[in-house]
Symmetry: D2
Subunit: 383 residues, 4 copies
């Protein structure tokens, strides 16, 4: 199956690796992804990406690429503002699509994307990879099997500090016209994906959003290094027009309540994507910074042996047939993307929609919009 | 200094121990507390408490006791509904007072208590002992010294599961007429005390409160065993008219935002009283379940050596001159009460008001009231 | 029951607190300890200790005190070199005895102590308090009930850093004539107590012992502040003639193997007393720095839910009837001493020998001797 | 650069992934590895491996492959008993070589391998990948920069439980003629690599080795699933003639002491590869199960802010230029192998020997031999 990957940045690295590695891990593979064409902004950048990421061809013109007859799958790893245009064109050309998250800058922008893939009848996926962490999938399994009872409370956080320094650069992630929103869309949506995956549909939000650093040094170049580079105290500064932080209350369709906290100003937190779920028969706790582990507590354990179990995921857990043979050999970011790739091609091979797909992506964009609106209005927003 | 302790339950144990142990730890002591009289509901119970807790005398009549000339300090460790009456009588008799938390069932009830101690000119303290944990006091020290900059975010939780079982007994803690409120007043107020101690005054709250277990087996006897005893599936059930859980947004006077979660239905959490504080120069993290430890991250550490430090408190930290000589010999609940006792008698000896005192207790009752009202109205309540 | 406490330092504080608090916690108490006489080196020091520790009388002459008719229990909390003399005199006077660990400087010195208490028919205890931590007692319970199968491996450590600084003072703990040995006797013996408690009798040792800091500043005064005070770079230095560190292999009677590491030079470790026990059906892990917790793994758990459980000890665990009503209210050093006191007076009331008693103390001294000899000879020493 | 990979099992997966991914991560890459030929036991297995691992060709005859002119690098990922023969042939053919650990079954077997690569003048590497974990490389950096002073103690463990069940299958890892030794060679050598990397050369060992499970069910097929498959209570059993567990004392050239514990019978431990290093100015702690983290304590931190820092490795740490842009995106087993591949090709490009190379591999095999001999003789063995 031939893949055209649109975009050659940090996410391109992760996806390219997954195309190469997926069959190595999940074998026999549902399909062998062929890295056919990579597209970047300039032909020079695309050539560089071709060699680096092991693609056969390169191009600076995504439009012609997504229409090529020999392309089966289009992979969108560009900044948020181009997702819709590319995805709609790819759908019209009848391509299966995987799109980086968030699906679009707003729900309004995401809706025609969903319409397009539905009309085209293609397979579609949105790349909320973190739920592919085996420990997260194990949490879902415990819930599905009723082992922690009915869920009454969901608490999710995504805390980072790569941009907590006021002198870290103003990349596209801090610009509303490109990113749509800030912490809400960039990292908060990952928590929303966890919340819906584990506790079910979200029907209402109440949010407080804040911009803590109102201006940042203008970044040179188009690269997004996630704060690792550039900026500096002396540089020219531009305005940040997105949120740095949100604290949001969540109401679920099943009656559960919850909260979501996402922040780019949490010094000491790196990729602190966590959840704590309370059920009527037990609890689940996860922290992506220690992603090999799921903590689970079963209320019906003997009185003298109750407590959170720290489970290291391995062969006995979700995706264990493909990943490393013993627990704690180690799940990295790469492995989450390999699993994502596996689920995509499995869905294509079986002609079923994977999860999360554009429907989920659209819904999450709507919820993110609701968070922004709630923050502005100071009232609950139903979705 | 002669102490009359009103109440002989679990809290009486903790306080009696502190009176005996305080001078052993903090020496020379600001004063030697003498366990003069203990009061319980019946003379028989009081006699039992006298021997058990090492008091000289016992009584079933708190009114006459608090008026005795030879009593210097009145210690109120009864259920919440009797705090006000006893405290006001003690104040009128000119006694110094330490009162268990929450100060009263409501702010309205707490106000005359504050008025009474002010009018009497006595020393007054409310027993939010957890801030006396050396690690919490160290957090405050780091903040006071500007080592984590300006505080922008406070996140506090108090999660428990001793009453998560629907068949655990209906003690006074689940009855509004005695307790005032549920998780809000019982455990949420400890978080409020942390929040004000670390991040400053709270000016507004937005709360969602829920009762998850609407009825419980009626408990036999007057004892409050915190769920350790009684109840059972076959017993007669009574209605719970207080909250089991709250998720509250907090607005601080200094512009910081925050959240508070308190739950009695968090399976696997025992005494999970935590905070995470983000500042402009660092962060602080604490979990009372591992109370010997404070985690602190300083943003100006060298790039290759940045990360949370886990500090075990000892001689180099607050109260280190009185507690155990090396870190991690171990702070237990007892030690927090010994420190509280020390601060009380030091305040009496120096004739200064300790902190938190009735003013703080009144303020916290007001905030708790605001949480309840916000939950009912679905809107922010300013305090 | 009247207690005479010989010694008024840091350990005196811990023991005095326990006498006062024990009946408050364990009620009805097996007996009410009365703090009758405290003895210190000078009358002035003893008077000070009397007020501080709440004793009725004070004395500078331990010999006359241990022979008083009205004394039931003698408590020895002096440096190691005086244990034997006091204990033998107390035994001859027919007193029950609790003696701080290690029982003596050597096994040779401990033997007549054991002979004396046996001959006198008194109750005797050696104060290895750490095994009284509820989590440690719970580990023993799991082992006794066969829940982790046969033990095959024991790993214990006791790592500290209060004297890792070469300029921390030369207290009696670094002088062979007073202490007997260094890390081996002072902290290694606690690990030996754990090892024997959990894995059974030790029959052979192979040890490497080292003195890493050969001289230290001479300390002023007789006080032992565990490194918290004194010394300094400019002070006169004296030779250290005991070990700072040991790594010892252990052979158990039941065929298990193990290791013990004790160090005073482990920067960052405070009171890092740990064990890891592997059985044929599971494992146990404990770290005193987080002493409310025991970790246990049961091999027969379902494949998808295997992992260490973190159990916070409370009412459902050993000593839960007397300690705090819910887990993680908090076990401190004080609580371990309260439990020790309870077990002592229970033994006296029931006229049975508690554990560990002088027999255990003698055996541990023999093993410690064997560790020293093994270190000198470079060969296994059978005990 | 064309690679021939000999072996197509679990390790083949890891290496193949690294060849594909290395340039994606480290760009510009020192060289682009081309997956030229993969060799397995049968042509059928090799064909399968070719498709799965993305090689251009397949073969069942390693001898002819290693002599092909178009092969630059030979990668040996077969069981231990064939390492020597393949490596020597490859060296004679002038190929650069990477060989899985341990280099050989014994030092005696490893010596001619070292001789061969030396004589051939090729680049050689032994695949102790765990030291490529950024957190481990960071530990080395702190040591090199003197930030924890002189090392006095090294404690390393490698504990697993995938074969703790007596009914898990008898793979080649339990057969001396294939594996050379058991826990000593399979996992203990990883600890030896850490020990030499961090604390310097090892000059003597004293070991106790044991076989805890003397027989296991004979495994069907040649596959090594690390205990994930096969066996069962009813199957025919074969003898285990290697060790399951070792406890070893280590003596270092620089005067430091240490210990090593490796076990396949540590229930609850999965890939528990740890070290704790004490220096004269600080300490380092690492646990591969939480491999994104290094803990470091600097003794010269301010008295009130001393404690282990938990550092999540990222752009500011070793290999940060190639790995994920922010800490805790996540290092998995895959990433360690990508770094290893990078270091190999960098060494080839720069014509310098990487570390660890066959010299290290030979030395480690000698030390492992010494551990076996020491276990048999009960005495120290100098190396």
């Amino acid at each position: 199956m031939n893949v055209a990957m649109i975009g050659g940045g940090f996410m391109g690295k992760a996806h390219a690796m997954a195309y190469a590695a997926m069959p190595m891990f999940f074998w026999p593979a549902p399909a062998i992804p062929v890295r056919k064409v990579v597209v970047d902004i300039t032909q020079e950048a695309a050539d560089d990406a071709r060699v680096r990421f092991g693609f056969e061809e390169s191009s600076a013109d995504w439009r012609s690429v997504v229409e090529r007859d020999d392309i089966d799958v289009v992979d969108i790893v560009t900044p948020n503002d181009s997702h819709a245009e590319i995805a709609i064109a790819a759908a019209k050309a009848g391509k299966h699509i995987i799109c980086e998250k968030p699906l679009a800058r707003t729900g309004e922008e995401a809706k025609p994307m969903l319409d397009a893939v539905r009309e085209a009848g293609v397979i579609h996926m949105v790349a909320f990879n973190y739920r592919r962490t085996p420990a997260v999938a194990l949490a879902r399994k415990f819930i599905d099997e009723g082992r922690i009872g009915d869920i009454v409370n969901f608490r999710g956080t995504y805390l980072q500090d790569w941009s907590a320094d006021p002198d870290s650069p103003l990349s596209w992630r801090f610009q509303k016209n490109v990113a749509g929103s800030g912490a809400v869309g960039d990292i908060g949506t990952h928590v929303l994906d966890f919340a819906r995956y584990l506790a079910g549909e979200i029907t209402g939000v109440y949010a407080v959003n804040r911009t803590l650093i109102p201006s940042r040094p203008v970044a040179s170049g188009h690269l997004d290094k996630l704060g690792a580079g550039g900026g500096g105290a002396g540089a020219e500064r531009g305005a940040v027009d997105v949120d740095d932080e949100t604290i949001t209350l969540l109401r679920f369709a099943n009656g559960a309540m919850g909260s979501l906290e996402a922040s780019r100003n949490a010094y000491g937190r790196n990729n602190y994507l966590t959840f704590e779920v309370h059920g009527t028969k037990g609890s689940l706790v996860f922290n992506y910074e220690r992603r090999d582990e799921l903590q689970v507590m079963f209320a019906d354990d003997p009185a003298d042996a109750r407590g959170f179990r720290t489970i290291y995921t391995g062969a006995a857990h979700p995706y264990g047939e493909g990943l490393w043979p013993i627990p704690a050999l180690g799940i990295g970011y790469g492995e989450t993307k390999i699993v994502e790739c596996y689920d995509l091609f499995k869905a294509i091979a079986e002609n079923t929609q994977p999860s999360p797909n554009f429907e989920d992506g659209y819904r999450i964009s709507q919820i993110a919009d609701a968070m922004i609106r709630s923050g502005e209005s100071g009232s609950w927003v139903e979705i």
